[in-house]
């Protein structure tokens, strides 16, 4: 039995299974297996095809880049659900369109593709398509011809299928005229406002009404419960003044962690190399050294001769022609002895002979950029870091005893304050809401307003309200929530009731007036503004509200009246005296307007087309993934 399996495994079946397992790895690398769970998860599914998180992230990144290049990238905006949904929508639409192009069988032949590409201005040289230019530009932009041609083909197909829709629409002359008449219509109007505040002195509110309102709304007219508290804060930063770090500690820390302080310092240097070969004999070395020494002496006498001597004598062919210049380099780029020397020197200084495995160097530093890494320039920073580290360590150490102390001596915070050298702070009357705003921490607030704190005036447990900040509080006085007294609120209630009554009166008067006006009667005491001629773009000083009302008014009979009631402002009566549809501008602007109109129509056709594609297939969006996915 076992033999059977073994022989199968050795045979072709076994080999085929093995091939199945190994081939995908060989083709796609192990990455594609691992990333299934992460970036390749589907953020949306369109008719069975998936849009991966990766594709979505790329689209987001593209958007960010485009906005950044225009200087208006706003991270908060980019992270908003609306923008995310929009970007995903775009991807879904692309996918839908691609499927529709396949389904409807749109095609672009190779000949059409070639005609288009060879006519693209980017690939033209002396008025003709240049194959060289084509290859060069593609390579510069990291495109293979295959990939580029596929993209152009997709663009052309989308042009035919989607952009073509916009070209199909046309608006009938009659309809265009009607719409334009409506759009450009001018109305000669006047309005009259019956303002609430003008009716205030005509209304009376009796004390009984105020009392009745108070009784009815008592439940809502309440002051919340309030406390006066004392509290004590233990924080790492408050411990800083008591911490001492001496220079020796700083130096020790610098030495122990010198690797960490390498900084990003870059140095530029020139050198003259006198080499002595790989297996040099002592004599050869000596000879090289003598030669180098002679050069060094000349340079010391005349520092300006460095470049010239480098050109003539340096045996480093790469730099010799440039007067010895090596360009800029950071730590780790050069052989050790060279680096040590170069990073010790000042700008313009010339080194003594430096021996490396290549030979003898004479080095000149020409430029220093970036953050230095020597002890002196880092001292202050390291000291600050050390102090804070110690303060933090002390905080952690004290936190537990602080917590214990406020618990054990729960009757007062004063002794704890003394013990930890903190200042006890007092508050005025504070509601829950105010306390939450102050501490920015819900736990401490609910502890302060807990029965234990309120009734027994015990210290709350110590709460870390934010990292490295520990607070304990104690309630000194407590005032339960209470209905506001009648006297405290009666004036306010009276004002409110008066406003309500006045606005009711204004509206009633307005409605009555409107009725009379519509019946052809006249109403005295209405303040009409001077007549104005308005159109949708020119309000002539009318408010937005009035404008909307003006164009909402039925003008089948002139003069036409309409009214608008507002429970706060009062009542607005609109009178339309004349409707002017004849003066529809000159032929030129009619033409422009018609052009605009067909553009609006085309846009709507396009969105209807997209909507139709979407309604025909199943589209699902993984909302959770979409909302969670923030890439920076």
């Amino acid at each position: 039995m076992l033999d059977g399996i073994r022989s199968v495994a050795k045979g072709w079946v076994g080999k085929a299974i093995l091939a199945f397992i190994t081939v995908p790895f060989a083709l796609f690398g192990i990455d594609s297996y691992l990333s299934q769970a992460g970036n390749n998860a589907a953020i949306a599914k369109v008719d069975g095809s998936e849009i991966s998180v990766q594709a979505y992230s790329n689209a987001m990144q593209n958007l960010r880049n485009r906005m950044q290049s225009e200087g208006k990238a706003d991270q908060a905006q980019l992270d908003s659900p609306e923008v995310k949904a929009m970007v995903l929508d775009q991807l879904i639409n692309e996918q839908l369109l691609e499927k529709e192009i396949q389904r409807a069988n749109y095609k672009i032949s190779d000949a059409q593709l070639a005609t288009y590409i060879t006519a693209m201005p980017s690939f033209q040289k002396d008025g003709k398509f240049s194959q060289e230019l084509y290859d060069e530009l593609l390579q510069q932009n990291r495109y293979t011809p295959k990939k580029f041609e596929a993209e152009i083909r997709a663009t052309l197909l989308a042009q035919q299928a989607q952009d073509g829709i916009a070209k199909l629409g046309f608006i009938s002359t009659a309809r265009a005229d009607k719409t334009l008449k409506l759009l450009n219509q001018k109305r000669v109007v006047t309005v009259s406002e019956l303002k609430t505040k003008d009716y205030l002195d005509q209304v009376k509110v009796s004390p009984e009404e105020v009392k009745a309102y108070y009784d009815k709304h008592k439940d809502k007219l309440r002051d919340p419960e309030q406390v006066k508290i004392e509290f004590l804060l233990l924080s790492a930063s408050s411990l800083v003044p008591g911490i001492k770090v001496d220079d020796a500690d700083v130096k020790r820390y610098y030495d122990e962690n010198s690797a960490k302080f390498k900084g990003d310092e870059q140095r530029r240097a020139s050198h003259i190399l006198i080499g002595f070969g790989v297996n040099a004999t002592p004599e050869q070395k000596e000879e090289a050294k003598n030669k180098a020494q002679a050069l060094l002496a000349t340079i010391k006498k005349n520092p300006k001769s460095f470049e010239e001597l480098a050109i003539k004598n340096s045996q480093d062919p790469g730099s010799a022609t440039k007067g010895g210049d090596l360009g800029s380099f950071g730590r780790g780029a050069m052989v050790k002895p060279f680096e040590e020397a170069a990073f010790k020197m000042k700008v313009g200084e010339v080194s003594d002979l430096v021996e490396s495995e290549f030979g003898y160097h004479i080095i000149k530093v020409t430029e220093i950029t970036g953050q230095g890494s020597d002890f002196e320039s880092l001292k202050a920073q390291i000291k600050g870091d050390l102090i804070f580290q110690k303060a933090q360590a002390e905080f952690v150490e004290k936190a537990e005893s602080f917590s214990n102390a406020v618990y054990e001596q729960s009757e007062s915070l004063a002794p704890v304050a003394k013990m930890f050298g903190g200042q006890l702070q007092l508050s005025g009357w504070t509601s829950r809401e105010e306390a939450a705003k102050f501490f920015k921490n819900d736990k401490i607030v609910s502890l302060i307003f807990s029965p234990e704190s309120i009734k027994e005036h015990r210290n709350t447990e110590a709460v870390e309200i934010s990292p490295n900040n520990l607070v304990s509080a104690r309630v000194l006085e407590y005032k339960p929530a209470a209905t506001k007294s009648f006297d405290a609120v009666k004036a306010g209630i009276e004002d409110l009731l008066k406003l309500e009554a006045a606005s009711k009166l204004a509206i009633a008067k307005g409605e009555e007036a409107l009725k009379t006006l519509r019946a052809g009667g006249s109403v005295a005491n209405l303040d009409w503004i001077p007549e104005v001629k308005v159109d949708r773009k020119n309000a002539q000083g009318l408010t937005q509200l009035a404008m909307t009302q003006v164009f909402k008014t039925d003008v089948s009979k002139l003069p036409a009246y309409s009214g608008l009631a507002d429970s706060k402002l009062g009542y607005l009566i609109v009178k339309i005296i004349e409707v002017d549809t004849a003066s529809v501008a000159d032929a030129e602007s009619v033409k422009t307007a018609k052009g605009e109109l067909s553009q609006v129509l085309s846009d709507e056709y396009l969105s209807a087309y997209k909507q139709s594609l979407r309604e025909k297939v199943k589209v699902t969006v993984n909302q959770r993934l979409l909302l969670e996915n923030t890439n920076h």
Binding site: N105, Q160, I171, K178, D603, E604, Y605, A608
Partner: protein, 207 residues
């Protein structure tokens, strides 16, 4: 190599089986091959038609629509020879548009009717319906326009259909029904688009 007795028996059985079923099997195989070849041929033909139609369609795009004769001739080729491709329906609507502009209303209507029943894309049929209803309404043939608008169409175009229906109803003097149609249209039109403002203004003008 000589066959032993057992193998000889198996061979005989096979021969007998082939005698009975051989013809059927070979017919089946031939049938499958023919079907496959036909399918391949059909796909090839379709692709070739689509590619040719695409070329014709691109050519149509660059003809000046005012050159009615050649524009119509090119569109006609697409409608006649390539009616199985999506390009035919598009060409029909484009031709109707050009005819309407040249005041050839009758031809325009005929082309739109053709597109409504023959276009390979339902969205193009929907657009053709809208345009046809538009023209009918302009001719005060409101009942015919309503009939076109009430035919089945892509749901994505509901907003545009309802908006035009409002216009037609208004032409029939049915103000309340028109207003109801406009109001329903507002719920279907692109919420970010500009078209809906026009519809809103029509509602406003009804008071």
């Amino acid at each position: 190599m000589a066959y032993d007795l057992e193998e000889q028996e198996q061979l005989d059985e096979l021969k007998a089986w082939w005698k009975t079923y051989g013809k059927m099997v070979s017919n089946l195989v031939i049938g499958l091959l023919v079907a496959y070849a036909a399918y391949q041929g059909w796909t090839y033909y379709q692709t070739k038609q689509a590619v040719n139609a695409s070329t014709e369609y691109q050519a149509l795009q660059v003809v000046d629509t005012k050159d009615t004769k050649s524009f119509q001739a090119k569109a006609a080729v697409l409608m006649e020879k390539y009616s199985a491709t999506p390009y035919a329906g598009r060409a029909a609507v484009l031709a109707a548009k050009a005819n309407y502009e040249a005041n050839q209303i009758k031809s325009a209507k005929a082309q739109l009717e053709w597109a409504i029943s023959n276009a390979k894309e339902t969205s193009v049929s929907a657009i053709a319906s809208l345009q046809l209803a538009n023209i009918l309404a302009e001719e005060n043939n409101f009942d015919a326009a309503l009939k076109v608008l009430e035919a089945k169409h892509d749901a994505g175009f509901d907003g545009l259909f309802l908006d035009l229906k409002g216009d037609v109803l208004l032409g029939l003097g049915k103000r309340d029904e028109a207003k109801a149609a406009y109001e329903l249209a507002l719920t279907k039109l692109d919420a970010q688009g500009r078209y809906r403002h026009l519809t809103q203004q029509k509602i406003d003008s009804l008071g």
